[in-house]
Amino acid sequence: EAGVTQFPSHSVIEKGQTVTLRCDPISGHDNLYWYRRVMGKEIKFLLHFVKESKQDESGMPNNRFLAERTGGTYSTLKVQPAELEDSGVYFCASSHRAGSYDNEQFFGPGTRLTVL
């Protein structure tokens, strides 16, 4: 079974540009999460999808960040316009069916974003 995949693995952009990160969860997982770790800080929760619906987006830092999960499969996280402080590693995770208590989160390898 394929794990959670993220694309790209590394992105380098200039301040003011737009970047879109993609996450493909494990097939059949309804729950999808985005996290990020900025330099030297802890991994922080950004948001949680159940299928295509945003269940909790309390961790989204500001309106420059837009997450989507059309069709309830893969998800994208767009940063527009990117700022220097957005640099860090963005992790995606998925977990089992909604309503199930099999809540282990499977993480992808992360996308390292560098904003110059």
Partner: protein, 112 residues
């Protein structure tokens, strides 16, 4: 979300048992305790989860005292490949989802 406190780092020799203790004084009644492991350049990986007493799987054991204000992850006979950061997370399970917050974690260095 309950705040967790763990040692920042630990060293251990190969073959020894390692116990990492996490403090979570304000754990709520519905909170579960979950431990994740993270290797460099990888995402965190689930190790074990428990609510009270003792939980054991093929990788580790988790000891939770009656007051649940702390928990101890026990790794038997560690090897060099167990060198990683270990995170203790506390959060409520709701609808198949545990909202968690990662702390600083404990960086375990296994020495040959």
């Amino acid at each position: 979300l309950a705040k967790t406190t763990q040692p920042i780092s630990m060293d251990s020799y190969e073959g020894q048992e390692v116990n990492i203790t996490c403090s979570h004084n304000n754990i709520a009644t519905n909170d579960y305790i979950t431990w994740y492991q993270q290797f460099p350049s990888q995402g965190p990986r689930f190790i074990i989860q428990g609510y009270k007493t003792k939980v054991t799987n093929e990788v580790a054991s988790l000891f939770i005292p009656a007051d649940r204000k702390s928990s101890t992850l026990s790794l038997p006979r560690v090897s060099l490949s167990d060198t990683a950061v270990y995170y203790c997370l506390v959060g409520e399970l709701s609808g198949g989802y545990q909202k968690v917050t990662f702390g600083t974690g404990t960086k375990l260095q296994v020495i040959p």
